[in-house]
Amino acid sequence: MSEHEYTPKSKVGKWFNDRLPLLTLANHLTDYPTPKNLNYWWTFGGILTFCLITQIVTGLVLAMHYIAHADMAFESVEHIMRDVNYGWLIRYIHANGASMFFLAVYIHIFRSLFYGSYKSPREVIWIIGIIIYLLMMAAAFLGYVLPWGQMSFWGATVITNLFSAIPLVGEGIVTWLWGGYSVDNPTLTRFFTLHYLIPFLILGLVVLHIWALHVPGNNNPIGIDIKKPSKDTVPFHPYIVIKDGFALLMFMIVFAFFVFYTPNILGHADNYIEANPLVTPAHIVPEWYLLPFYAILRSVPDKLLGVIAMLSAILILAALPWLDTSKIRSAVFRPLYKQFYWILVADVLILGYVGAMPAEGLYLLIARIATAYYFLHFLVVLPILGFKERTTPVPLSITEPILGGSPNFAAVKKKDDFKDQ
Protein backbone atom coordinates (compact mmCIF):
# COMPACT_ATOMS: atom_id res chain seq x y z
CA MET A 1 0.00 0.00 0.00
CA SER A 2 2.54 2.59 1.07
CA GLU A 3 5.14 3.61 -1.48
CA HIS A 4 7.96 3.78 1.01
CA GLU A 5 9.03 1.83 4.05
CA TYR A 6 8.06 3.44 7.34
CA THR A 7 9.90 3.04 10.63
CA PRO A 8 8.57 4.68 13.82
CA LYS A 9 11.07 7.00 15.48
CA SER A 10 10.56 5.96 19.11
CA LYS A 11 11.70 2.62 20.44
CA VAL A 12 8.26 1.83 21.91
CA GLY A 13 6.63 2.78 18.62
CA LYS A 14 8.95 0.43 16.74
CA TRP A 15 8.34 -2.37 19.23
CA PHE A 16 4.58 -2.01 18.87
CA ASN A 17 4.63 -1.49 15.11
CA ASP A 18 6.62 -4.69 14.59
CA ARG A 19 3.83 -6.56 16.36
CA LEU A 20 0.82 -4.67 14.96
CA PRO A 21 1.64 -2.20 12.16
CA LEU A 22 -0.98 0.37 13.12
CA LEU A 23 1.56 3.19 12.87
CA THR A 24 2.44 2.12 9.35
CA LEU A 25 -1.26 2.33 8.52
CA ALA A 26 -1.53 5.80 10.09
CA ASN A 27 1.55 6.90 8.17
CA HIS A 28 0.09 5.57 4.94
CA LEU A 29 -3.13 7.50 5.53
CA THR A 30 -1.41 10.82 6.27
CA ASP A 31 1.19 10.57 3.49
CA TYR A 32 -1.25 9.07 0.96
CA PRO A 33 -0.42 10.85 -2.32
CA THR A 34 -3.46 12.66 -3.70
CA PRO A 35 -3.83 14.34 -7.11
CA LYS A 36 -3.27 18.06 -6.60
CA ASN A 37 -6.12 19.08 -8.92
CA LEU A 38 -8.96 17.52 -6.89
CA ASN A 39 -11.90 19.96 -6.75
CA TYR A 40 -14.62 20.34 -4.15
CA TRP A 41 -16.72 17.56 -5.68
CA TRP A 42 -14.07 15.25 -4.21
CA THR A 43 -14.80 16.30 -0.64
CA PHE A 44 -18.01 14.28 -0.39
CA GLY A 45 -16.21 11.07 0.58
CA GLY A 46 -15.19 12.70 3.83
CA ILE A 47 -18.62 14.26 4.24
CA LEU A 48 -20.24 10.83 3.84
CA THR A 49 -17.98 9.36 6.51
CA PHE A 50 -19.14 12.15 8.80
CA CYS A 51 -22.80 11.38 7.93
CA LEU A 52 -22.35 7.68 8.74
CA ILE A 53 -20.76 8.39 12.09
CA THR A 54 -23.44 10.97 12.92
CA GLN A 55 -26.19 8.43 12.16
CA ILE A 56 -24.53 5.73 14.25
CA VAL A 57 -23.95 7.99 17.26
CA THR A 58 -27.41 9.62 17.25
CA GLY A 59 -29.00 6.25 16.50
CA LEU A 60 -27.31 4.63 19.48
CA VAL A 61 -28.60 7.37 21.73
CA LEU A 62 -32.14 7.17 20.33
CA ALA A 63 -32.15 3.41 20.89
CA MET A 64 -31.69 4.06 24.61
CA HIS A 65 -35.14 5.71 24.70
CA TYR A 66 -37.05 4.09 21.87
CA ILE A 67 -39.30 1.07 22.46
CA ALA A 68 -39.72 -1.33 19.57
CA HIS A 69 -43.30 -2.45 20.19
CA ALA A 70 -46.36 -1.77 18.07
CA ASP A 71 -48.28 -0.41 21.09
CA MET A 72 -45.47 1.79 22.40
CA ALA A 73 -43.23 2.81 19.51
CA PHE A 74 -45.23 5.87 18.49
CA GLU A 75 -45.53 7.05 22.08
CA SER A 76 -41.87 6.46 22.82
CA VAL A 77 -40.91 8.67 19.87
CA GLU A 78 -43.16 11.42 21.23
CA HIS A 79 -41.56 10.79 24.62
CA ILE A 80 -38.14 11.36 23.02
CA MET A 81 -39.42 14.57 21.44
CA ARG A 82 -41.00 16.01 24.60
CA ASP A 83 -39.44 14.47 27.70
CA VAL A 84 -35.93 13.25 26.99
CA ASN A 85 -33.26 15.92 27.51
CA TYR A 86 -32.29 17.19 24.06
CA GLY A 87 -34.30 14.28 22.62
CA TRP A 88 -35.82 16.59 20.01
CA LEU A 89 -32.35 17.63 18.87
CA ILE A 90 -30.99 14.11 18.65
CA ARG A 91 -34.03 12.82 16.78
CA TYR A 92 -34.09 15.74 14.35
CA ILE A 93 -30.36 15.24 13.65
CA HIS A 94 -30.99 11.55 13.03
CA ALA A 95 -34.05 12.10 10.81
CA ASN A 96 -32.55 14.95 8.79
CA GLY A 97 -29.19 13.21 8.88
CA ALA A 98 -30.67 10.48 6.69
CA SER A 99 -31.65 13.08 4.10
CA MET A 100 -28.24 14.76 4.31
CA PHE A 101 -26.59 11.35 3.90
CA PHE A 102 -28.51 10.78 0.67
CA LEU A 103 -27.88 14.31 -0.56
CA ALA A 104 -24.15 13.73 -0.14
CA VAL A 105 -24.24 10.25 -1.67
CA TYR A 106 -26.06 11.50 -4.76
CA ILE A 107 -23.46 14.22 -5.28
CA HIS A 108 -20.74 11.62 -4.73
CA ILE A 109 -22.30 9.24 -7.28
CA PHE A 110 -22.90 11.93 -9.89
CA ARG A 111 -19.31 13.14 -9.43
CA SER A 112 -18.17 9.62 -10.32
CA LEU A 113 -20.44 9.63 -13.35
CA PHE A 114 -19.05 12.94 -14.60
CA TYR A 115 -15.36 12.16 -14.13
CA GLY A 116 -15.57 8.46 -15.02
CA SER A 117 -14.33 7.35 -11.61
CA TYR A 118 -16.05 3.98 -12.06
CA LYS A 119 -13.80 2.98 -14.96
CA SER A 120 -10.83 0.64 -14.90
CA PRO A 121 -8.99 0.18 -12.57
CA ARG A 122 -11.64 1.40 -10.09
CA GLU A 123 -14.55 -1.00 -10.86
CA VAL A 124 -14.37 -2.73 -7.48
CA ILE A 125 -14.49 0.59 -5.60
CA TRP A 126 -17.58 1.46 -7.63
CA ILE A 127 -19.36 -1.84 -7.03
CA ILE A 128 -18.69 -1.70 -3.29
CA GLY A 129 -20.13 1.81 -3.45
CA ILE A 130 -23.31 0.53 -5.11
CA ILE A 131 -23.68 -2.12 -2.40
CA ILE A 132 -23.27 0.60 0.25
CA TYR A 133 -25.93 2.65 -1.54
CA LEU A 134 -28.34 -0.33 -1.54
CA LEU A 135 -27.73 -0.90 2.17
CA MET A 136 -28.30 2.81 2.80
CA MET A 137 -31.69 2.57 1.12
CA ALA A 138 -32.55 -0.51 3.19
CA ALA A 139 -31.45 1.21 6.42
CA ALA A 140 -33.40 4.37 5.56
CA PHE A 141 -36.56 2.41 4.77
CA LEU A 142 -36.32 0.29 7.94
CA GLY A 143 -35.64 3.38 10.06
CA TYR A 144 -38.62 5.20 8.60
CA VAL A 145 -40.87 2.37 9.83
CA LEU A 146 -39.75 2.61 13.47
CA PRO A 147 -41.80 5.69 14.59
CA TRP A 148 -44.91 3.63 13.71
CA GLY A 149 -46.81 6.51 12.16
CA GLN A 150 -49.20 6.20 9.24
CA MET A 151 -46.45 6.65 6.63
CA SER A 152 -44.26 4.17 8.52
CA PHE A 153 -46.96 1.54 8.50
CA TRP A 154 -48.14 2.00 4.94
CA GLY A 155 -44.65 2.49 3.57
CA ALA A 156 -43.71 -0.81 5.17
CA THR A 157 -46.83 -2.45 3.74
CA VAL A 158 -46.20 -1.22 0.20
CA ILE A 159 -42.48 -1.99 0.14
CA THR A 160 -42.78 -5.48 1.66
CA ASN A 161 -45.61 -6.19 -0.79
CA LEU A 162 -43.13 -5.63 -3.63
CA PHE A 163 -41.88 -9.14 -2.85
CA SER A 164 -45.36 -10.56 -3.48
CA ALA A 165 -44.73 -9.87 -7.17
CA ILE A 166 -42.33 -12.84 -7.25
CA PRO A 167 -44.17 -15.75 -8.87
CA LEU A 168 -45.14 -18.76 -6.71
CA VAL A 169 -43.12 -18.01 -3.56
CA GLY A 170 -43.91 -14.27 -3.34
CA GLU A 171 -46.80 -14.51 -0.85
CA GLY A 172 -44.81 -16.90 1.35
CA ILE A 173 -41.85 -14.52 1.39
CA VAL A 174 -44.07 -11.59 2.39
CA THR A 175 -45.63 -13.56 5.27
CA TRP A 176 -42.13 -14.57 6.33
CA LEU A 177 -40.93 -10.95 6.25
CA TRP A 178 -43.94 -9.82 8.28
CA GLY A 179 -43.94 -12.71 10.75
CA GLY A 180 -47.73 -12.60 10.47
CA TYR A 181 -50.52 -11.84 8.04
CA SER A 182 -49.93 -8.10 7.97
CA VAL A 183 -47.34 -5.58 9.08
CA ASP A 184 -47.53 -5.81 12.87
CA ASN A 185 -45.46 -6.10 16.03
CA PRO A 186 -43.21 -8.96 14.83
CA THR A 187 -42.44 -6.86 11.74
CA LEU A 188 -41.52 -3.84 13.85
CA THR A 189 -39.15 -5.70 16.17
CA ARG A 190 -37.24 -7.33 13.32
CA PHE A 191 -37.06 -4.06 11.40
CA PHE A 192 -35.54 -2.44 14.47
CA THR A 193 -32.94 -5.19 14.73
CA LEU A 194 -31.98 -4.88 11.07
CA HIS A 195 -31.97 -1.09 11.20
CA TYR A 196 -29.47 -1.37 14.04
CA LEU A 197 -27.33 -3.91 12.17
CA ILE A 198 -27.03 -2.33 8.72
CA PRO A 199 -24.99 0.79 9.63
CA PHE A 200 -22.25 -1.48 10.94
CA LEU A 201 -22.29 -3.48 7.72
CA ILE A 202 -21.98 -0.17 5.88
CA LEU A 203 -19.07 0.79 8.11
CA GLY A 204 -17.26 -2.42 7.17
CA LEU A 205 -17.92 -1.82 3.49
CA VAL A 206 -16.68 1.76 3.80
CA VAL A 207 -13.35 0.37 5.03
CA LEU A 208 -13.21 -1.88 1.96
CA HIS A 209 -14.28 1.04 -0.26
CA ILE A 210 -11.37 3.17 1.02
CA TRP A 211 -8.96 0.27 0.93
CA ALA A 212 -9.85 -0.43 -2.70
CA LEU A 213 -9.47 3.30 -3.40
CA HIS A 214 -5.97 3.38 -1.94
CA VAL A 215 -4.73 0.68 -4.33
CA PRO A 216 -4.97 2.70 -7.60
CA GLY A 217 -5.32 6.07 -5.83
CA ASN A 218 -7.87 8.81 -6.51
CA ASN A 219 -9.23 9.61 -9.93
CA ASN A 220 -9.04 13.34 -10.69
CA PRO A 221 -10.88 15.98 -12.72
CA ILE A 222 -8.90 15.34 -15.90
CA GLY A 223 -9.17 11.59 -15.38
CA ILE A 224 -5.63 10.62 -16.37
CA ASP A 225 -3.37 8.13 -14.63
CA ILE A 226 -0.76 9.86 -12.53
CA LYS A 227 2.48 8.67 -11.05
CA LYS A 228 2.41 8.69 -7.28
CA PRO A 229 4.08 10.21 -5.44
CA SER A 230 5.15 12.81 -7.99
CA LYS A 231 4.83 16.49 -8.81
CA ASP A 232 1.20 15.76 -9.61
CA THR A 233 0.35 14.72 -6.05
CA VAL A 234 0.20 16.24 -2.59
CA PRO A 235 0.14 14.31 0.70
CA PHE A 236 -3.35 13.70 2.13
CA HIS A 237 -2.37 15.46 5.33
CA PRO A 238 -2.53 18.43 5.65
CA TYR A 239 -3.70 19.41 2.14
CA ILE A 240 -6.79 17.24 1.68
CA VAL A 241 -7.61 17.11 5.38
CA ILE A 242 -7.94 20.90 5.48
CA LYS A 243 -9.90 21.06 2.24
CA ASP A 244 -12.26 18.25 3.30
CA GLY A 245 -12.62 19.92 6.69
CA PHE A 246 -13.64 23.22 5.14
CA ALA A 247 -16.17 21.52 2.83
CA LEU A 248 -17.52 19.60 5.81
CA LEU A 249 -18.11 22.84 7.70
CA MET A 250 -20.06 24.25 4.73
CA PHE A 251 -22.08 21.05 4.61
CA MET A 252 -22.80 21.23 8.33
CA ILE A 253 -24.28 24.70 7.86
CA VAL A 254 -26.83 23.25 5.43
CA PHE A 255 -27.40 20.33 7.81
CA ALA A 256 -27.92 22.66 10.78
CA PHE A 257 -30.31 24.81 8.76
CA PHE A 258 -32.62 21.84 8.27
CA VAL A 259 -32.29 20.62 11.87
CA PHE A 260 -32.95 23.99 13.50
CA TYR A 261 -35.18 25.86 11.05
CA THR A 262 -37.21 23.33 9.04
CA PRO A 263 -36.79 19.99 10.83
CA ASN A 264 -39.97 18.50 9.37
CA ILE A 265 -39.90 19.82 5.82
CA LEU A 266 -38.40 16.62 4.42
CA GLY A 267 -40.86 14.38 6.29
CA HIS A 268 -44.59 13.83 5.97
CA ALA A 269 -47.21 15.23 8.33
CA ASP A 270 -49.05 11.88 8.11
CA ASN A 271 -46.27 10.25 10.07
CA TYR A 272 -47.33 12.18 13.17
CA ILE A 273 -50.56 10.16 13.12
CA GLU A 274 -50.22 6.77 14.78
CA ALA A 275 -50.28 3.71 12.49
CA ASN A 276 -53.81 2.56 11.65
CA PRO A 277 -54.17 -0.69 9.69
CA LEU A 278 -57.73 0.25 8.65
CA VAL A 279 -56.99 3.52 6.86
CA THR A 280 -54.46 4.20 4.14
CA PRO A 281 -53.36 7.84 3.86
CA ALA A 282 -54.78 9.49 0.75
CA HIS A 283 -51.40 10.05 -0.83
CA ILE A 284 -48.53 7.69 -0.10
CA VAL A 285 -45.07 8.85 -1.11
CA PRO A 286 -41.68 7.63 0.02
CA GLU A 287 -38.95 9.94 1.28
CA TRP A 288 -37.55 12.28 -1.35
CA TYR A 289 -34.40 10.27 -1.95
CA LEU A 290 -36.34 7.23 -3.15
CA LEU A 291 -38.75 9.12 -5.41
CA PRO A 292 -37.01 8.51 -8.77
CA PHE A 293 -37.18 4.75 -8.23
CA TYR A 294 -40.77 5.01 -7.01
CA ALA A 295 -41.62 6.84 -10.25
CA ILE A 296 -40.06 4.00 -12.25
CA LEU A 297 -42.07 1.43 -10.26
CA ARG A 298 -45.33 3.23 -10.93
CA SER A 299 -44.67 3.97 -14.58
CA VAL A 300 -44.92 0.27 -15.47
CA PRO A 301 -48.56 -0.93 -15.51
CA ASP A 302 -47.66 -4.53 -14.63
CA LYS A 303 -46.89 -5.39 -10.99
CA LEU A 304 -44.00 -7.83 -11.53
CA LEU A 305 -42.45 -5.85 -14.39
CA GLY A 306 -42.70 -2.66 -12.34
CA VAL A 307 -40.73 -4.23 -9.51
CA ILE A 308 -38.17 -5.61 -11.98
CA ALA A 309 -37.79 -2.20 -13.63
CA MET A 310 -37.24 -0.50 -10.29
CA LEU A 311 -34.60 -3.00 -9.16
CA SER A 312 -32.87 -2.91 -12.56
CA ALA A 313 -32.66 0.87 -12.38
CA ILE A 314 -30.38 0.48 -9.36
CA LEU A 315 -28.54 -2.68 -10.35
CA ILE A 316 -27.75 -1.35 -13.82
CA LEU A 317 -25.32 1.01 -12.11
CA ALA A 318 -23.19 -1.96 -11.05
CA ALA A 319 -22.69 -2.84 -14.73
CA LEU A 320 -21.74 0.72 -15.63
CA PRO A 321 -17.95 0.14 -15.90
CA TRP A 322 -18.68 -2.27 -18.76
CA LEU A 323 -21.59 -0.40 -20.33
CA ASP A 324 -19.49 2.73 -20.78
CA THR A 325 -17.14 1.72 -23.58
CA SER A 326 -15.15 4.95 -23.72
CA LYS A 327 -11.53 4.73 -22.64
CA ILE A 328 -11.49 8.42 -21.67
CA ARG A 329 -12.56 8.87 -18.07
CA SER A 330 -13.34 12.55 -17.57
CA ALA A 331 -16.31 14.22 -19.26
CA VAL A 332 -14.07 17.27 -19.67
CA PHE A 333 -12.66 15.62 -22.80
CA ARG A 334 -15.94 14.07 -23.94
CA PRO A 335 -18.07 16.82 -25.52
CA LEU A 336 -21.01 14.54 -26.32
CA TYR A 337 -20.99 12.55 -23.09
CA LYS A 338 -21.00 15.80 -21.18
CA GLN A 339 -24.32 16.73 -22.78
CA PHE A 340 -25.84 13.30 -22.20
CA TYR A 341 -24.62 13.50 -18.60
CA TRP A 342 -26.63 16.64 -17.95
CA ILE A 343 -29.66 15.15 -19.71
CA LEU A 344 -29.40 12.19 -17.32
CA VAL A 345 -29.21 14.52 -14.33
CA ALA A 346 -32.34 16.30 -15.56
CA ASP A 347 -34.02 12.96 -16.24
CA VAL A 348 -33.43 11.74 -12.68
CA LEU A 349 -34.70 15.05 -11.26
CA ILE A 350 -37.83 14.79 -13.42
CA LEU A 351 -38.36 11.20 -12.21
CA GLY A 352 -38.05 12.46 -8.65
CA TYR A 353 -40.63 15.16 -9.29
CA VAL A 354 -43.23 12.90 -10.93
CA GLY A 355 -42.59 10.29 -8.23
CA ALA A 356 -44.01 12.75 -5.74
CA MET A 357 -47.08 13.49 -7.90
CA PRO A 358 -50.17 11.30 -8.33
CA ALA A 359 -49.64 8.53 -10.91
CA GLU A 360 -52.19 9.67 -13.50
CA GLY A 361 -52.62 11.70 -16.66
CA LEU A 362 -49.71 13.82 -17.78
CA TYR A 363 -47.52 12.87 -14.79
CA LEU A 364 -47.77 9.22 -15.73
CA LEU A 365 -46.84 9.97 -19.33
CA ILE A 366 -43.81 12.02 -18.26
CA ALA A 367 -42.78 9.26 -15.83
CA ARG A 368 -42.93 6.70 -18.64
CA ILE A 369 -40.82 8.77 -21.01
CA ALA A 370 -38.28 9.56 -18.28
CA THR A 371 -38.10 5.89 -17.27
CA ALA A 372 -37.50 4.83 -20.87
CA TYR A 373 -34.80 7.46 -21.25
CA TYR A 374 -33.07 6.38 -18.03
CA PHE A 375 -32.55 2.87 -19.38
CA LEU A 376 -31.76 4.19 -22.85
CA HIS A 377 -28.91 6.25 -21.41
CA PHE A 378 -27.20 3.24 -19.85
CA LEU A 379 -28.07 0.51 -22.35
CA VAL A 380 -27.84 2.38 -25.66
CA VAL A 381 -26.26 5.82 -25.39
CA LEU A 382 -23.22 4.90 -23.29
CA PRO A 383 -22.14 1.77 -25.21
CA ILE A 384 -22.46 3.54 -28.59
CA LEU A 385 -20.89 6.79 -27.45
CA GLY A 386 -17.60 5.07 -26.62
CA PHE A 387 -17.17 4.15 -30.29
CA LYS A 388 -18.71 7.17 -32.02
CA GLU A 389 -17.62 10.11 -29.91
CA ARG A 390 -14.67 12.27 -30.96
CA THR A 391 -12.95 13.12 -27.70
CA THR A 392 -10.66 16.12 -27.31
CA PRO A 393 -6.95 15.50 -26.62
CA VAL A 394 -6.07 14.62 -23.04
CA PRO A 395 -3.02 16.27 -21.39
CA LEU A 396 -0.11 14.07 -20.42
CA SER A 397 0.00 15.11 -16.78
CA ILE A 398 -1.69 17.45 -14.34
CA THR A 399 1.33 19.71 -13.98
CA GLU A 400 2.63 19.83 -17.55
CA PRO A 401 -0.07 21.97 -19.22
CA ILE A 402 0.04 24.57 -16.47
CA LEU A 403 3.84 24.87 -16.43
CA GLY A 404 3.91 25.34 -20.22
CA GLY A 405 4.42 23.03 -23.17
CA SER A 406 0.81 21.97 -23.03
CA PRO A 407 -0.35 19.62 -25.73
CA ASN A 408 -3.87 20.87 -25.13
CA PHE A 409 -4.23 24.03 -23.13
CA ALA A 410 -7.86 24.63 -24.08
CA ALA A 411 -8.96 21.36 -22.57
CA VAL A 412 -7.35 22.09 -19.24
CA LYS A 413 -8.91 25.53 -19.32
CA LYS A 414 -12.33 23.92 -19.70
CA LYS A 415 -11.76 21.87 -16.60
CA ASP A 416 -11.18 25.07 -14.68
CA ASP A 417 -14.48 26.43 -15.95
CA PHE A 418 -16.31 23.43 -14.60
CA LYS A 419 -14.62 23.75 -11.26
CA ASP A 420 -16.28 27.10 -10.76
CA GLN A 421 -19.78 25.76 -11.18
Binding site: W154, T157, V158, T160, N161, L162, S164, T175, W176, L177, W178, G179, G180, Y181, S182, V183, D184, P186, R190, P277, L278, V279, T280, P281, A282, H283, I284, R298, P301, D302, K303, G306, P358, A359, E360
Partner: protein
Protein backbone atom coordinates in the same frame (compact mmCIF):
# COMPACT_ATOMS: atom_id res chain seq x y z
CA UNK B 1 -2.57 -38.94 -15.91
CA UNK B 2 -5.94 -40.28 -14.89
CA UNK B 3 -6.86 -39.58 -11.32
CA UNK B 4 -7.84 -42.61 -9.33
CA UNK B 5 -10.55 -42.33 -6.73
CA UNK B 6 -8.91 -42.92 -3.42
CA UNK B 7 -10.13 -43.57 0.06
CA UNK B 8 -9.27 -39.96 0.94
CA UNK B 9 -11.61 -38.63 -1.83
CA UNK B 10 -14.42 -40.65 -0.34
CA UNK B 11 -13.68 -39.21 3.09
CA UNK B 12 -13.72 -35.65 1.70
CA UNK B 13 -17.04 -36.15 -0.06
CA UNK B 14 -18.58 -37.77 3.00
CA UNK B 15 -17.33 -34.92 5.21
CA UNK B 16 -18.76 -32.24 2.91
CA UNK B 17 -22.10 -34.06 2.79
CA UNK B 18 -22.40 -34.40 6.56
CA UNK B 19 -21.23 -30.79 6.93
CA UNK B 20 -23.92 -29.56 4.53
CA UNK B 21 -26.63 -31.40 6.46
CA UNK B 22 -25.31 -29.90 9.70
CA UNK B 23 -25.27 -26.36 8.29
CA UNK B 24 -28.80 -26.81 6.93
CA UNK B 25 -30.06 -28.07 10.28
CA UNK B 26 -28.71 -24.94 11.96
CA UNK B 27 -29.77 -22.47 9.28
CA UNK B 28 -33.39 -23.62 8.96
CA UNK B 29 -34.46 -22.71 12.54
CA UNK B 30 -32.83 -19.32 12.02
CA UNK B 31 -34.99 -18.75 8.93
CA UNK B 32 -38.18 -20.35 10.20
CA UNK B 33 -38.22 -18.31 13.43
CA UNK B 34 -39.33 -15.37 11.28
CA UNK B 35 -42.51 -17.11 10.08
CA UNK B 36 -45.82 -16.40 11.92
CA UNK B 37 -45.57 -17.74 15.47
CA UNK B 38 -48.12 -19.75 17.43
CA UNK B 39 -49.70 -16.69 19.06
CA UNK B 40 -50.21 -15.01 15.68
CA UNK B 41 -51.73 -18.16 14.21
CA UNK B 42 -54.03 -18.50 17.22
CA UNK B 43 -55.86 -15.30 16.24
CA UNK B 44 -57.03 -16.87 13.03
CA UNK B 45 -60.81 -16.25 13.22
CA UNK B 46 -63.17 -13.39 14.08
CA UNK B 47 -66.96 -13.29 14.57
CA UNK B 48 -68.83 -10.19 13.44
CA UNK B 49 -72.38 -9.09 14.23
CA UNK B 50 -73.80 -7.53 11.06
CA UNK B 51 -77.37 -6.87 12.20
CA UNK B 52 -76.80 -3.08 12.27
CA UNK B 53 -75.56 -2.82 8.69
CA UNK B 54 -78.09 -1.14 6.38
CA UNK B 55 -78.25 -1.87 2.64
CA UNK B 56 -75.72 0.24 0.75
CA UNK B 57 -73.36 0.41 3.71
CA UNK B 58 -69.96 -1.14 4.33
CA UNK B 59 -68.35 -1.97 7.63
CA UNK B 60 -64.67 -2.68 8.05
CA UNK B 61 -63.43 -5.17 10.60
CA UNK B 62 -59.93 -6.28 11.48
CA UNK B 63 -59.02 -9.91 10.85
CA UNK B 64 -55.46 -11.15 11.18
CA UNK B 65 -54.33 -7.50 11.24
CA UNK B 66 -55.97 -6.87 7.89
CA UNK B 67 -59.17 -4.98 7.15
CA UNK B 68 -62.15 -7.01 5.92
CA UNK B 69 -64.93 -5.16 4.09
CA UNK B 70 -68.45 -6.40 4.74
CA UNK B 71 -70.85 -4.70 2.36
CA UNK B 72 -74.60 -5.13 2.36
CA UNK B 73 -75.34 -4.50 -1.28
CA UNK B 74 -78.51 -2.92 -2.66
CA UNK B 75 -80.61 -4.64 -5.33
CA UNK B 76 -79.25 -2.32 -8.05
CA UNK B 77 -75.69 -3.13 -7.04
CA UNK B 78 -76.36 -6.86 -7.18
CA UNK B 79 -77.89 -6.50 -10.63
CA UNK B 80 -74.93 -4.41 -11.76
CA UNK B 81 -72.39 -6.88 -10.39
CA UNK B 82 -74.10 -9.82 -12.10
CA UNK B 83 -74.52 -8.03 -15.42
CA UNK B 84 -70.80 -7.59 -16.10
CA UNK B 85 -69.55 -9.82 -18.91
CA UNK B 86 -66.61 -12.03 -17.97
CA UNK B 87 -64.70 -11.01 -21.13
CA UNK B 88 -64.46 -7.46 -19.81
CA UNK B 89 -62.61 -8.58 -16.69
CA UNK B 90 -58.86 -8.67 -16.16
CA UNK B 91 -59.31 -11.45 -13.60
CA UNK B 92 -62.56 -13.17 -14.66
CA UNK B 93 -64.68 -14.29 -11.75
CA UNK B 94 -68.48 -14.54 -11.53
CA UNK B 95 -70.16 -12.45 -8.88
CA UNK B 96 -71.96 -15.60 -7.69
CA UNK B 97 -68.61 -17.17 -6.88
CA UNK B 98 -67.51 -14.14 -4.91
CA UNK B 99 -70.69 -13.50 -2.90
CA UNK B 100 -72.43 -16.74 -1.94
CA UNK B 101 -75.26 -14.67 -0.52
CA UNK B 102 -75.50 -11.88 -3.11
CA UNK B 103 -76.65 -9.35 -0.53
CA UNK B 104 -73.41 -9.70 1.44
CA UNK B 105 -70.00 -9.14 -0.05
CA UNK B 106 -67.26 -10.17 2.38
CA UNK B 107 -63.72 -9.56 1.15
CA UNK B 108 -60.24 -8.58 2.25
CA UNK B 109 -60.00 -4.81 2.00
CA UNK B 110 -56.50 -5.06 0.70
CA UNK B 111 -55.48 -3.89 -2.75
CA UNK B 112 -53.78 -6.74 -4.57
CA UNK B 113 -51.20 -4.37 -5.99
CA UNK B 114 -49.16 -3.36 -2.96
CA UNK B 115 -51.50 -3.83 -0.03
CA UNK B 116 -53.15 -0.45 0.60
CA UNK B 117 -56.76 -0.18 1.79
CA UNK B 118 -59.02 0.93 -1.08
CA UNK B 119 -61.63 3.64 -0.50
CA UNK B 120 -65.34 2.80 -0.47
CA UNK B 121 -67.73 4.02 -3.22
CA UNK B 122 -65.02 5.65 -5.25
CA UNK B 123 -63.47 5.11 -8.65
CA UNK B 124 -64.82 4.64 -12.16
CA UNK B 125 -66.83 1.47 -11.38
CA UNK B 126 -68.79 2.56 -8.26
CA UNK B 127 -66.88 0.09 -6.16
CA UNK B 128 -63.52 0.77 -4.56
CA UNK B 129 -60.56 2.90 -5.52
CA UNK B 130 -57.03 2.45 -4.20
CA UNK B 131 -55.44 5.84 -3.53
CA UNK B 132 -51.88 4.52 -3.59
CA UNK B 133 -51.42 3.61 -7.23
CA UNK B 134 -54.84 4.10 -8.76
CA UNK B 135 -56.52 0.67 -9.02
CA UNK B 136 -60.29 0.71 -9.65
CA UNK B 137 -62.51 -2.12 -8.38
CA UNK B 138 -66.17 -2.78 -9.17
CA UNK B 139 -69.04 -3.47 -6.75
CA UNK B 140 -67.97 -7.11 -6.63
CA UNK B 141 -64.40 -6.13 -5.70
CA UNK B 142 -63.07 -7.16 -9.11
CA UNK B 143 -60.13 -5.29 -10.60
CA UNK B 144 -61.24 -3.21 -13.61
CA UNK B 145 -58.50 -0.67 -14.17
CA UNK B 146 -55.04 0.05 -12.80
CA UNK B 147 -51.92 -1.91 -11.78
CA UNK B 148 -53.46 -4.48 -9.41
CA UNK B 149 -53.15 -7.96 -10.94
CA UNK B 150 -56.14 -9.73 -9.33
CA UNK B 151 -59.52 -9.16 -7.71
CA UNK B 152 -59.66 -8.41 -4.01
CA UNK B 153 -59.44 -11.67 -2.12
CA UNK B 154 -62.44 -13.40 -0.56
CA UNK B 155 -61.52 -14.83 2.85
CA UNK B 156 -62.99 -18.04 4.20
CA UNK B 157 -66.18 -17.12 6.06
CA UNK B 158 -69.62 -18.46 6.95
CA UNK B 159 -72.86 -17.26 8.46
CA UNK B 160 -73.08 -18.68 11.95
CA UNK B 161 -76.67 -17.40 12.13
CA UNK B 162 -78.67 -14.77 10.23
CA UNK B 163 -76.78 -11.89 11.81
CA UNK B 164 -73.32 -13.25 12.55
CA UNK B 165 -70.47 -13.84 10.15
CA UNK B 166 -67.46 -15.88 11.20
CA UNK B 167 -64.35 -14.99 9.24
CA UNK B 168 -61.47 -17.45 9.08
Amino acid sequence: MEKKTKRRDFLFTATYAVGAVGVGAVVWPMIDQMNPDASVKALASTEVDVSAVDPGKTITVLWRGKPVFIRRRTQEEIVEAKSVKLEELKHPEKDEDRAKNPEWLVMLGVCTHLGCVPLDQKGDYNGWFCPCHGSHYDISGRIRKGPAPTNMEIPEYKFVDANTIKIG
